[in-house]
Amino acid sequence: MALNLNILPQSSFGLTGYWGLQESVTIPFYNYESNSSNYFGIKDWGISLQYGAEFSGSINSSLYLLALAKKLGNHSLSARFTPGYQKEFLFATGESIIINDTTTQSLKANYNYKELFGIGYSYKFDEQFNAGLVVRFFSQDFNREIVKPVYGDTLYLVREAINEKVNMWNVDIGIDFILNKQFQFRAASINLVNVKDEFTNEEFQGFEMDQKRGAFLTASYMPAEFFNFHLLYETSNSFQVSATGYAKGFTYGLTAFHDYYQEPYIAGVVPAVGYRTNLFEILLSGVKYFSERNTDASFSKFYEEGIHNIINNRYSFDKVVLSLALNISSKPEKQVELIDVEIVRDIYPTFYDKYIDQPFAYGRVVNISDKPVSVIPSVKIEGITDDKIQSPPQMLAPGDTAKVPFYLIIPDNYVIDKATLSYADFYVTASSNEPDAQLQKAALINSINSWDGNVANLRYFIMRDQDFSMNYAKSVLSDNKSTLDTIPFAISAFIKSKILFNDFVKRLVYTSDPRATAENVQFPKQTIELKGGDCDDLSVAYSSLLESVGIQTALVDYKEDGEIRHVNVLLNTKLSPTQAKFITTNDSKFFIRKNEQGNDEIWIPIETTSLTDFDEAWNVGVEKFNREALVKLGLATGKVEIIDVY
């Protein structure tokens, strides 16, 4: 008997109804039928069980489902065993045998369609996209009696039972798009890939499950946690509409479904009500069909139309299903949430320890637990740090939102030639090693020659090439050993400064920064190798040389010089005011500053862009310093600032 039945694997119907991507429940996600993308809201491990009773005149209780799910970062894995997902048909084959001329015996058959187990995998690309697949195993057991002639010496007709088991694997994929908390969508396949055994017995051909492909689309509108609305449409022209919600631990759902292959138009409803805590969920659901269901049915109708779903077809009975789920987590409960992060400073790698004291970003963190928590912010920037850089912990009261700083340590050997846009991963951790929340933001990492225009930060450039500067300065001074050996010790700092500057100016010319890199600063080695630089490059280089041989320097920041800021160097001659006559008789050519011991010392300004000789640079420096800092009261008004290098 060759038939062309449409007995199809499961489509989108689930015994708990359709709940969309509502994360206040997990039980409905074990229904692969409507969760082809294997979406799970669990944190770590999830276990679920569905046990129910079917009302077919008598009550048949069945274990419908046992399932396990595990979350590994962005990966979700699940597996389920579905012993109750089966539908058996018993019927007379139409064949009968007359035994002993009078007794007629009818031959019987039973065909059983089962979904036995399945596995699922999904990957959460980000907060908006999740995609996955489920693989399910179906088994079809065909058993029937036949009349078989047996010929030996004589011919006999015997009744014989024949059977065949035909297995089938089914693969479906799905993708979830969470536009925002209100609107969520899913697209998934139905019977995308079917791999099945070949029939060996022609008696059963035509009764196997079909491979009719399709798809379903879902849309959820979730205006509030206590009321969500979902629509699921199948390409077979079937649909489900449902309302679900969660309030104060209680969950509810009501799904009405139109099945293209069942009558009436709304074939039935699936009401559900449940309760959940962080540890467990319980959900009582039912399937109520609006058409009459009998244990007897027409073979010819089955012959013509088959069934289109194993657990939901015109032969299915009303059910009550009790679902239990445990959400086991080896991870502590999430206690804090990172709402947003604001990057307040660009990253200048040369300022390697600057971000230890000054946060480069602030995050808004909320304590979502019911107890005070200590929050540790940390950050990892691709290309700069291999590990998370932790910032000091902050205490947050329950429900409080706080602004937490993110500090950064840049390795002092870090080199980057040009500015790069990278990603900073911000974490907040409350009570375990695993972050409770994280956010990613784009961050600009400047080149090592980049400068933020703050003269105080030029000291990072001064300090960077200390070894080079020391070698260079010692070499120059060594060449002038005979001079240095004959001078009084008191003026050695002054003479050394003079020797170094005069050597310095012989090699260098003033060149302004390239227009495109106006905030670039050269390291001393670069300035000497490139044989030139602008005011900040020359000041940095000269200051570095002096500092490397123990001569204290400061940078003078002229904040207004027309529209261009200017920098030059102030150096400590180590002379007392009474010793000033050793270097000049003009008391306007020096500036007295107190040292750490409170003693006055003679400092002289050197204009490093005046590349004639030391005396000229001193004169120019003095002239500018006296005019801007003293006459125009620059030091008093803050328009001129002296910044010690160390």
Binding site: E54, G57, N60, L90, S96, V147, L155, F302, Y303
Partner: protein, 301 residues
């Protein structure tokens, strides 16, 4: 709390495992008319019994029949040639004279000749009635009496008895002894015309036969499958199959391929559409049967 939860889980698991059933099955009621009732007519194909079956394809177990009146319109198709003939017969059994097998199983009753019989006005001849059977491995042949017979092989020869389909055959009985004449019309069925599509071959044991006939859909038709040895004209009936008169039957291959076909040359498919009824009661009960029979003889491929 943890302990309570553990106990709850264990109790629930035990309860579920103990009380688990499987979902209720659905009993499908066969309303397709695709039924097939199979009866084996001859166990020993080397020494076939004619009990209950005659070579024209008429198969009746006569042990339960008081008296029999049977008329048949018969066609036999061999290759592309079809011969038609008509047959009328009557048998009256004496229920006081049973004939038994040696194991006391009833074989038949002796027949009697109680008067004269006419079909469509033509008086039937009285001929010997023999039953052939096999017992204890020995072939036996017994004469159970006489029967009334008319047959028309071609154009009223030897008897001018004509069988009209979907019509009536008049029956008249004039007893030798007491009692009045009995006469009535025997309704005849629609003519049956069969077609057999036989595929496969006996060497590969993949023979399959698809039978088609002009369906009337009212009652069931009878299909008799018989075999013929090389050089013989009589077939050995093997299976009697009853199915609905829907015009098509696929004979499952296993019915044909399990037979020792290498010993046989031809296979005969006989289509029978019949009318059956009873008249009278007690010892005067008549089993009345009229049949349209079409036998198709095919070389076994």
């Amino acid at each position: 709390m943890k302990k309570l939860l553990t106990y709850l889980i264990i109790s629930a698991s035990v309860f579920i495992l103990v009380s688990c059933d499987k979902p209720a099955p659905t009993q499908l009621v066969d309303d397709t008319n695709n039924d097939l009732e199979v009866e084996l007519l001859n166990k020993d194909l080397d020494n076939p019994s004619s009990s209950g079956t005659d070579t024209s394809g008429i198969t009746q177990d006569l042990t339960g029949v008081t008296n029999l009146i049977s008329v048949s319109g018969i066609k036999i198709t061999t290759e592309n040639r079809t011969n038609e003939f008509s047959l009328a017969q009557a048998m009256f059994f004496d229920k006081t004279k049973p004939i038994y097998y040696s194991n006391n199983k009833l074989l038949a009753y002796k027949t009697i000749i109680p008067g004269t019989i006419k079909f469509n006005g033509t008086e039937a001849h009285i001929v010997p009635y023999r039953i052939r059977y096999r017992e204890g491995g020995i072939h036996k042949d017994t004469l159970v009496g006489g029967k009334y017979l008319l047959y028309n092989i071609y154009n009223g020869i030897p008897d001018p008895f004509y069988f009209d389909y979907n019509s009536n055959v008049s029956f008249e009985f004039d007893p030798f002894l007491i009692g009045g004449n009995i006469s009535f019309n025997i309704p005849t069925p629609h003519e049956i015309n069969g077609v057999v599509s036989l595929s496969g071959n006996k060497i590969s044991k993949n023979l399959e036969a698809i039978l088609n006939w002009n369906a009337k859909g009212e009652k069931r038709v009878l299909i008799i499958i018989g075999l013929m040895r090389p050089g013989q004209l009589q077939s050995i009936p093997v299976y009697k199959m009853k199915t609905s008169d829907d015009g098509e039957l696929t004979i499952p291959g296993r019915y044909l391929n399990q037979l020792p076909l290498d010993r046989f040359e031809k296979i005969v498919f006989t289509f029978v559409r019949s009318y059956e009824g009873y008249r009278g009661s007690g010892n005067n009960e008549l089993f009345v049967s009229s049949q349209s029979i079409h036998s198709i003889v095919i070389d076994i491929p």
